[in-house]
Subunit: 257 residues, 4 copies
Amino acid sequence: MVAVSLNADLGESFGAWRMGDDAALLPLINSASLACGFHAGDPSIMVETVKLALAAGCSLGAHPGFPDLQGFGRRALRMSPREVEAIVAYQIGALAGTAALQGGRVTHVKPHGMLNTMASADADMAAAIANATRAVDRDMILVVLPSTELEKAGRAIGLRCAAEGYADRLYEADGTLASRTLPDAVHHDIATIREQALRMVLEREVIARGGVRLRLEVQTLCLHGDEPGAVESARLVREGLLKAGAELRTLPAMEFS
Amino acid sequence: MVAVSLNADLGESFGAWRMGDDAALLPLINSASLACGFHAGDPSIMVETVKLALAAGCSLGAHPGFPDLQGFGRRALRMSPREVEAIVAYQIGALAGTAALQGGRVTHVKPHGMLNTMASADADMAAAIANATRAVDRDMILVVLPSTELEKAGRAIGLRCAAEGYADRLYEADGTLASRTLPDAVHHDIATIREQALRMVLEREVIARGGVRLRLEVQTLCLHGDEPGAVESARLVREGLLKAGAELRTLPAMEFS
Amino acid sequence: MVAVSLNADLGESFGAWRMGDDAALLPLINSASLACGFHAGDPSIMVETVKLALAAGCSLGAHPGFPDLQGFGRRALRMSPREVEAIVAYQIGALAGTAALQGGRVTHVKPHGMLNTMASADADMAAAIANATRAVDRDMILVVLPSTELEKAGRAIGLRCAAEGYADRLYEADGTLASRTLPDAVHHDIATIREQALRMVLEREVIARGGVRLRLEVQTLCLHGDEPGAVESARLVREGLLKAGAELRTLPAMEFS
Amino acid sequence: MVAVSLNADLGESFGAWRMGDDAALLPLINSASLACGFHAGDPSIMVETVKLALAAGCSLGAHPGFPDLQGFGRRALRMSPREVEAIVAYQIGALAGTAALQGGRVTHVKPHGMLNTMASADADMAAAIANATRAVDRDMILVVLPSTELEKAGRAIGLRCAAEGYADRLYEADGTLASRTLPDAVHHDIATIREQALRMVLEREVIARGGVRLRLEVQTLCLHGDEPGAVESARLVREGLLKAGAELRTLPAMEFS
């Protein structure tokens, strides 16, 4: 039987500003990755989102990003590996602290935005993130884009790595995500998103740019809640997977090879 | 025999800016309270300070403050108890995360500056800080000014509380610290600082403003490193205490009633 | 004939986060008060909002606030008058800089949130804000709540002061705004908002809490765009005023006694 | 006769943290470039530094940087030209606002750190900085590294450009500054610094890495105050120039071709 963990990036509001519909998305997913105050989120938002996530039965993960609130962690910032190690350990710990207020535990780490993009290609940054993750908790699961430097770095130091697929992002033929600066990088059509999700989980492949069939093994799918129609498309993905007999689990309940 | 833990507030540099002479102060103290990035400190400074503190055999504590870098956490900021709970849990966790990079553990919490001042007098803020501390780790020691709301709140939920004395601060007759806005609030004379330290630890009293003799039980003394002459006066306090037969211990090695 | 300037607080988005519907509100108002990056807004948002405001024929004002992004400038922060003077001059200048990119000029200053609340009651903070405003440009118009310390301070140094009324806020019998922490502080009923606006402008009075009739002379009315129905109620206020024969002008086009 | 303007980057303290010895350096220089709160400085520091600079008879310039306080504006941050334009206009304006509190005027702009480095090589960023500078004031002088994209962009839109030389930095043979990450990038020997200063001003050349003689026309020399011995070496440079008959002027008093 096929199992997958549906995850989403949550808690990306800040202060008086709202982003995403966390309350609507949480019942549809299994694992929640929470912003930790650097690219989004603040301590109060984190406490509130942890509460909602635990109530929905989701496992908790840290979603650390660059210290760039205005840029939402999407702008490249040239930090040294030592600096990256420090900000990742800081953010995981900060989430663990706020989660403790609700009796929650952080069980996975998924780098955000440009930090994830850079760590996918840069072995030193990847090692920094993997080291920080293992230092905080060696049972932590590292969520990675498959076949990246980050996956390599995580496996090299013995972390369980969960390969992640995106139902609503266009893939390049080499297995990387198409850059968000390209016009067709994000699928907006609900049927396309559902179809890509099912194909990834059930057939272990994705149709990349130009129709290229790409082999892709994922343990977790990322759903989004911040676009119009996103919650609806998340619901369709979930229902499609359940109907096809897939089992939906939290990340710590997944099996890792 | 008399035991006391010498503590200091460290890691209060930020980015390219230095504050205090942590390396000089660390060999003189037993417990280090580290800024957590809100009023001072940043993830890299925290990692570096944890390293120095562990190398010096000091126990580690979080020194959480208001989110006010420009004001160094010394300006009153009206936050709700829920907000305070969140920022304290966040900061303790953040330090725990960076400490984990060096295999270190956070064993005490000491609120910084205006957060400490307000929590000394405001029962709701005190309860928020105590709750956050216990939620992260129920074995955590809470460092408090004696006979304050914070001490009450800590004891009420079963936390071990370490009463703290200041060798270089003037006390008011009611046992509170003289406000830093007053000209004589901080002792600069080394002999006065040494004398106040010894009197506190050995005789369990302090001479407050106007010569009033005040009963004061402290488990820990706070030394400073950010004034000229501070390291020298810390050394004198330490030597005076050792010569008088006092035992110097980390906070977790102290006995609490 | 009766003249009034309709103003609104705009540019309160930040980075990736949106707030308010500036584009919809701008055609309905005459004067735009823009957040300056401390409680909301960022340089890019400011440039974009200046552009929209100029295209709509609105005059530009600075809406300086406390340096508290997470708290949206609504939390009390204890700053000295010298600090307040500095942050107000800084923010007015910053807006003038970004406005210059579009050939725009800043012609009024309206303090935001808790800064305005505190300066209404505290003569030293009021003087600091008035001084900063005049130092940047002695022709600047200071928008004030009527009969406050800020109005006094502005008049005392010769600034033109525009008394501001709120169509959607409950007034206390003493002429102050009911605190936002009270449940009925903000009117949500469109008819009530329209009625209060017309009464203020045409009859120079407002019905305060408990039905008390209060004399109130205002040169400008503040409309909001960040609540559901806000744009619709702004439209009704505007149309009601025009139908009643009131003249709508930018702040610099108003006459001041 | 040879004229030159001695400039220094000042106001780089932040909140409770001090950097540089502005008071000692100011009597030695002619033009002060002030941090504007993004990489260093805060509104209160800016007011205080403007006051010192005006008292010393220096002209005032803005020293805008990347919004990266922790990294002191020395880390590359990938911003779009539109974003760069906005942050530069914002920072110039912010300094103009705080300068107005003392009756001061901003007469030059000198980008800081990595912003300057990137704008030296990237035509789009250079154009963004030049545009922002001219939009705020078309009489503003733009301080540039000679023969860079920034100089080209400034000249292209008609700004007066002051070519800047560094007495204490090693030059590469192509006229660029050696990267600060290299061990010999900064001269620490006072005699070397003095010699490089005199050679630049009097002979219009510099000895680059490997002994290469490089032609270099500069209108302004940058002195530093944040290293041990820096003030002493600034004094030597000043005295050497005066003894050799050079005239020291503020930037607006210089003649530009």
